[in-house]
């Protein structure tokens, strides 16, 4: 365990674990235009933090539960009157605001609000690390198991149904994976930037990939690279780590987009 005694090694491993969990799911978020859906779910995580602290339960469990409830809520409310982006906007921002209000009821000594909004990857302990990698493994296993069905349902709901694949069931798989990913990622990048970690690496990978699998792998590489480079840069320049990781990912997105333009 001597290697894990180094906080930078722990932080690096946490970053990579988070990036690996976010990679395949992020691809689906991009393919299915679920960006706002990811945001709404991630923002609900803050409320989960507040509830966990109020009831003195494990943070990750509270986050997982609220993220799951939020995701199911969004899924069931969509397609009922309001335009989807409006509805998701209402829910995403309300969830964040309710979370912030809920947190304010707790005494300040117990809570580092910034840590939950922007992540606190340098404070990851071995137990957190085990949860992150366990969660990441669960997300990847779930998506790998349903991969073919998820892709078919993503192409076209009717096409999937004709092959005996239930669109709603696959939607639920993604919802569960999303809640798990949010719970995994809140320590590394915080509630506000989970959405960024879901969207930016796959967006950067898109021009470089010819198949869905290649895109998921390239996304994982870009996400992990951004985590390591962001960690190094934040150490070098004394900047907040989570935002620095997202900045590096955004830089990679610009680079891959320009590369695609040059090749075209």
């Amino acid at each position: 365990m001597t290697l894990l005694d180094d906080f930078l090694v722990r932080a690096g491993l946490a970053g990579i674990g988070t990036a690996l969990a976010a990679a395949p799911l992020g691809c689906f978020v991009v393919w299915r235009r679920m960006a706002y859906f990811g945001d709404a779910t991630a923002h609900a995580a803050l409320l989960g933090v507040a509830l966990s602290l109020a009831f003195q339960g494990p943070i990750m469990l509270g986050v997982l539960a609220t993220a799951l409830i939020m995701a199911i809520l969004v899924q069931n409310l969509s397609g009922r009157g309001l335009a989807e982006d409006t509805l998701l906007g209402v829910l995403a921002h309300s969830a964040l605001a309710i979370g912030l209000v809920a947190v304010s009821f707790l005494s300040g000594a117990r809570l580092d609000l910034m840590g939950y909004l922007f992540g606190d990857i340098l404070a990851v302990n071995v137990f957190d690390l085990a949860l992150i990698w366990g969660g990441a493994a669960a997300v990847i296993a779930l998506l790998a198991w349903r991969w073919q069905r998820l892709l078919t349902a993503t192409l076209n709901p009717d096409l999937a149904q004709a092959s005996g694949i239930s669109f709603r069931a696959e939607q639920m798989v993604l919802t569960i994976a999303l809640a798990l990913t949010v719970a995994v990622a809140i320590k590394a990048v915080g509630a506000l930037l989970i959405g960024a970690l879901l969207i930016i690496p796959p967006a950067a990978a898109r021009p470089l990939a010819r198949t869905p699998e290649a895109m998921a792998l390239i996304t994982a590489a870009i996400g992990s690279g951004a985590a390591i480079a962001g960690l190094g840069a934040s150490f070098q320049f004394d900047t907040p780590t989570g935002p620095t990781i997202v900045c590096v990912a955004a830089g990679l997105f610009c680079a891959s987009t320009m590369l695609a333009r040059l090749r075209a």
């Binding site: 993503t154 009717d158 004709a162 990939a209 198949t211 290649a214």
Partner: protein, 254 residues
């Protein structure tokens, strides 16, 4: 053998009843066509049959283990999902490279395996969709306006492929189309829809039915006669072509 049976099927979409009280069935080996004006519920009925819409009332029964090859009306590919043709053919079931090559050449697009889906033309796309449906070795092939975006010779060629496939796989075919005369002529049975089944029967029966003529007028009849299918041996017009000649005629045009 009966593949699929709908009994008293009523379907709702977005709170509106789009199809009511449908009784229909499809047997192995037959080609059944749905015709009807826009918004008459043709696509909804198909979605109801494949289970994409839950019935409001009534039921759909399918043969155990029924394999459906489905070519939907439109499949929007926006390029967010990178997908080669051969990867697309492997959704949801994987197939060997040989099987894919056979299906692609049977569908008339042997050279496209490595192309990206979003770069295909309308005609290429529909043929790839057909190849995918063929790979499932379907009992029932469903084509919903499968010739949209094809010109008339392209559509005729496409339907010739379908007939060949039907004979080859001994599957049933359920089609929806606007190309009334071409499609109807290639059918064993036609169902004319307008929110319900207005009339049904052989192409001849349907084209003479007052319900059909109320929807489409009698103008389609002349063209329909030209495209008459060769396995129909009743000639209502007084051309003196023999059957072989009529076959030739059909292949030239249809």
């Amino acid at each position: 053998m009966r593949l699929i049976t709908a009994t008293g099927l009523t379907l709702q979409q977005a709170g509106k009843t789009v199809m009511r009280d449908v009784d229909m069935h499809i047997d192995r080996g037959e080609i059944v066509t749905l015709v009807g004006p826009n918004g008459s519920g043709k696509s909804s009925l198909i979605k109801g049959l494949v289970g994409a819409i839950k019935p409001l009332s009534g039921k759909v029964e399918t043969m155990r283990g029924l394999r459906i090859g489905y070519v939907p009306q439109s499949l929007h590919m926006d390029g967010l999902l990178p997908l080669t043709v051969s990867r697309f053919l492997c959704l949801p079931d994987r197939h060997s490279r040989d099987a894919m090559a056979r299906a692609l050449s049977e569908a008339g697009v042997p050279d496209l395996a490595k192309a990206q889906m979003r770069t295909l033309s309308g005609g290429q796309f529909q043929r790839v969709m057909l190849a995918r449906a063929l790979l499932m070795s379907p009992d029932l092939l469903i084509l919903d306006e499968a010739t949209q975006g094809l010109d008339q010779p392209g559509a005729a060629d496409f339907y010739r492929k379908i007939e060949h496939v039907r004979t080859h796989l001994n599957c049933a075919v359920l089609m929806v189309s606007h190309d009334l005369h071409v499609v109807m002529a290639a059918s064993d049975r036609v169902l004319c829809l307008n929110g319900h089944v207005c009339c049904e029967g052989s192409p001849e029966v349907v084209q003479d039915a007052p319900e059909y003529q109320a929807l489409f007028g009698t103008g389609a009849n002349g063209a329909f006669a030209i495209y008459r299918h060769r396995h129909d041996h009743h000639h209502h017009h007084d051309h003196d072509h023999d059957h072989d000649h009529e076959d030739q005629h059909k292949h030239d045009i249809a």
